[in-house]
Symmetry: D2
Subunit: 401 residues, 4 copies
């Protein structure tokens, strides 16, 4: 793909004018990282199902890990700056943006929001540098859309918590140093609540097995996690979280990153298609001279621009502290859905060679299927928004009451 195509996509709408100089700085740093560190190796890593762990420290050094958090070695950047970094990283590969999301928006965010000062001091600085990798265990094998059906338990046994259960689709778990595990916890007084636990992954009874057979996000790791009599000290619990609002607040952080990130995959696809359209000649002229190709490019571009405007609007709301879950749902739904649609259209413009790794589009298409599912399917987000609009929950037949 030509530099020209990238420039055009970036400039037609003059979105840069809406960014601060600091934000543009983050954007450029992330774009350079994506271009120089990820793109040269990503096709091989995707083919070989290889997570290139050595990049983690580099991401940390660049300040991308937990970058929106304050203190504890974190950069304290704004929501838009963080979003731009997500976009640029995902323009290379969804797996690497996912890594940053799991590390910064899920694991670090959980400790940051709900942890004790000791937990923060112990974990956040080394997670910010990438020395320690974190993961986030919420989803269970029975399905991600209904965390209330959680079966993993934590019970008190003297001065210890004992965790039992299973989690699935847990990003990075097999290479993580620490896991934030959510469980239905029964305290010594018999009270129960969903609570989070900081679990060093070398604790006995904690096992993480990478899920095999993936045809999406192959340069990334997702695991099955089993917890069999995992014994933790009393202070392993996150003191600040009781109930599902605890993990949900982290999911919303992660979803916010997806709103931006998916647009990065979309831009990469659009650039690939545009570059091909400008240079590939058939019937004696560039295919970009054909109306049917221009029509597709125009429609892809319009949705890309709207997606970025929406992400930016959400970012500004987040910076003002007013961003709501329903707004994030709209953003996640839109960004991933439109990114997938852009990827499909881009693929159709590339023709034959476009099915190979000479172009990033097949890989983005495959990756985005994971992104579409995790952190809430289209349907879940439609129904979150539907509830906001109608006042009626319709997630299941039981929920309409």
């Amino acid at each position: 793909m030509s530099t020209d195509s990238a420039l055009i996509v970036d400039t037609v709408f003059d979105l840069d004018a809406l960014l601060t100089e600091e934000e543009r700085g983050w954007q450029q740093k992330a774009r350079a990282f994506a271009t120089e560190r990820i793109l040269p190796v990503i096709e091989d890593d995707f083919e070989n199902k290889h997570f290139r762990r050595e990049l983690v420290a580099e991401l940390g050094a660049a300040g991308f890990l937990g970058m929106h958090l304050q203190g504890y070695g974190c950069a304290g950047a704004g929501a838009v700056a963080y979003g731009l970094v997500c976009l640029e990283l995902e323009s290379a590969d969804s797996g690497w943006r996912t890594f940053v999301s799991v590390q910064g928006s899920l694991a670090m965010s959980a400790i940051y929001k709900h942890g004790s000062e000791e937990q923060k001091q112990h974990w956040l600085p080394r997670m910010a540098t990438g020395e320690a990798i974190g993961c986030f265990g919420l989803t269970e094998p029975s399905g991600g859309s209904d965390p209330a059906a959680m079966t993993t338990t934590a019970r008190r046994d003297g001065e210890e918590w004992v965790l039992d259960g299973a989690k699935r689709w847990i990003g990075l778990a097999s290479i993580a140093d620490v896991a934030v595990i959510w469980a239905k916890a029964t305290d010594s007084d018999g009270s129960t609540a969903v609570r989070g636990f900081v679990v060093p992954t070398d604790t006995d009874g904690f096992t993480a097995t990478p899920i095999d057979g993936k045809l999406s996000m192959r340069a990334s790791i997702q695991c099955d996690v089993t917890l069999e009599g995992v014994r933790l000290p009393v202070d392993a619990v996150l003191p600040g979280a009781r109930g599902l609002s605890g993990p949900f607040s982290c999911l919303n952080e992660a979803r916010y990153g997806i709103v931006w990130g998916a647009m990065g995959a979309a831009r990469s696809c659009l650039e690939a298609a545009l570059g091909r359209a400008r240079t590939r000649e058939v019937f004696g002229e560039p295919i970009g001279a054909r109306q049917l190709v221009q029509g597709k490019l125009a429609d892809m571009f319009v949705e890309y621009e709207k997606g970025v405007l929406l992400a930016l609007h959400l970012g500004r709301l987040k910076e003002r502290g007013t961003l709501t879950p329903a707004q994030i749902s709209v953003g996640k739904l839109n960004s991933v859905r439109e990114a997938l649609h852009i990827a499909h259209e881009a693929r159709s413009i590339l023709a034959g060679d476009g099915i190979t790794s000479a172009f990033p589009v097949m890989r983005h298409m495959a990756n985005l299927e994971s992104v579409r599912t995790y952190e809430g399917t289209d349907e879940i987000h439609q129904l979150v928004l539907g509830r906001e609009l109608t006042g009626i929950a319709a997630f299941s037949s039981a929920s309409v009451a």
Copy 2:
């Protein structure tokens, strides 16, 4: 439709937070006008093909006519304020937003941008109040997408210009006091250029006949105009415009208003569907409790919000003076296309009663077909954007060179 529905649509995304107090003032004034002056009569006027001329002076009194122009009795409001007024008026009926566009963005704008000081002094103040109605004659019977094929001519005969030709789809022409007519003009020195002429409509040889049989924008007027030996004094020509850039600069003003306006029609449809979904009970529950209905509402809402965000982005670019024709094309394409899609979806939620004038949706659907066509079809705007992206013009086989 319930006030609730309107409030929800407006507030879910907190767009108001992006507006200045002055902008919200214009918005409220226009909303009140739409609600109090247009909505109570519009269904009858649509049915009876009646243009309610007495509202013109009220629109003038409210400051909506030429409101984005400076001086000459015009309000000098910003681009976003003007856009908001377009949105609110079109939430009542596309015909009335079209009136404001033709008067302010086409006729007044042509005189304002390209006219002599005398022309401005003479016409703009009375057009701003609505005392005088203007129209804009560019499109010809052979088709609107290719103004370069213009056949209307102006020739010098001593100290007079003589105009001959025909125009079609000229809004308001039969009730206008003044027409800005574009013609291929041959000057006394033999030089030729497309030029604009200020033509009092009582000039001999000027005839305007309303187009009959319309099933869209029936509360509005579009005309066939014939010019047979229309004699004008030398100073009837707009001194500032030579070539198609003259009328095109006005079209871009009008398109800008459509970007906002069409979202008004969309909001009205969305509100109608949402109100119905919340109150209409079938199978013992509101239809809004059904997932398939919530899914539609959610998708409509997402596109509405993105459309408004795009309009707002364009408005801010316009206020900075950097708005480009390609950006406007994107906006016009998106707003009308999505508004139509929203209207179709809304219609499907209303069920039986929704085919009557008890709901505004059938009317908006019909109106938007006009709006989709005028000021550039989808295809033209896709190709404008396609040219921007690929560097290749593909409007016709001849244009690919």
Copy 3:
């Protein structure tokens, strides 16, 4: 629209080869009727909300009324022949195909399937000629999708039935001679069931009022019907129907006609767009030379052909006696949805003049909104099919059990 366009649409796929000579005869007769008797007047009738009653006898003379029934003066034609007639009539206007459906597939079919021999002898011959007009009263003001919520009642008072209640969206009721009214009937022994009653419309207490303000199917009549103490002799009840399967069997007959009919509206729109594309010149060439226009035409055509193939498949199943309600739901869903989509695309090709009655497309678009709603919305049919596929009823939260 040119004859050329019609011929091309009909011949590209060689569908005629799948028809018998007798079927082609019916098709040609109906096409001639549509062309000669309906098209010349339909734009005026639509504009003026005029049902041209004098055509009813002509439809009867042509054999179209109850044409799929055997005996009693009916033609006894096959299901495909009947479908072809529906297609051709609706290519002129949905209102006239609706008339034939209400008369033949609802009112006559109810009497034919469920009536006594006396009822058949009395009503069917005169309904077949068009001497008597029938209507079918099932839907109530509270909504058409859930007939089980019916509130109209019939009770025994000695040797009489007494009907009370209200119906809505009852086609032709204000001009009908006879109404088949469905009510929750309580017999003299106290047993209750939904039953049908043959009600002469001049019976005291029967009132039908045309619904005003329609922006769709304006050349047709739909009514509110009130039944206030309507007294009928004991033998007014249809002996063969108990429960909702009675009216449902008639609805399926009517839906079958829609499967074909909507494709007629689609073909008319496709022909209009194709004719325009071949003749309208912009930028120095027919707009049909533009790829974006050809792409639309191709897609419209593909869906038209598939819709007709599906209708034909259902017709052959019906002739074999194996057509199921779920199959009809698929057909109704598909035909109307695709016809609407074709109408929208066609409209966009017609440009300016296409918003007038010079082309039938705005009218078809408006009409099809009624057709989309009546006899089951898209959602209802999706859920009928969804139930067939999954084994789970999901019409409402209550139905998932």
Copy 4:
């Protein structure tokens, strides 16, 4: 995926009733082959980019290779029977249907239609058994949509033909025994025409290199082929083909197989989604109880059924000998486009596990991208049909004349 789902998809529309017993026999044999021989190994082969050559002889033994040809060891089956086999094989993997297409519809068909009796006797029987594998060299690196731009040449040198040039995306070339190569041939009398040559792949100067980096059809082989001074005896030319109509007649054979085949991939995706919807429980009920899921399933099903009906219609036309290239274009366009859409929708229903090889959907999605491109992109087929409808060729700006 459950057997139930498969049965339901097959039976709802009663398509079997349209088949002869012999056709159902072929269908069952192919379904058994797909289920028993391909499905157990295909996920591994796709992952490992392995073409399982040992299946070729089994396909031959089953009679699938060149099965629609008469004599020479071929089965002489009808077009519908052949289509059903394509559907069943592609329900397992597009790569294996592609193998059958390349072998039977391209390579064997070229020799059968255009070859000498000696060529037929020599090659067809061993190709029918799978003893010899054939390939078909038409597309060149500069793009497949415009074969008229062919640069491969054949020139006479005494009693030999000498071929030079390069081909790309040539299925099976690296394992083929024989290649049918199309070249611009200049005969000894100086006359030139596109002609086909039967090239044993062990001829000096013939080199085939598998294309690497594929993310689609990985269990299949496509190659770059170079021809450097490839010397062939005079009788290597196909005597019956001069001009592009020669290879085009074979492409149409292959496209016909795609029309059916792509529906096989679609059915597999639909079955997977349906099976998952019926068994996967979230929020305490199968996800198939959710309206939004049923809506998707219903829409997928409708398009599947229409696609099969269209394929069947084309098959019957082919059996009557009247199938036209434009009709095939419609079929190829529709089947692949809708199959891809069904695959995307199915993916969204499978949620997390659906990105793994536990379900066939990601693989079908990826494969169909190849199928969408080869044998003509969507745009090419839209324009083929557009030309048929409008009478105007619009493939490029040069073609509009």
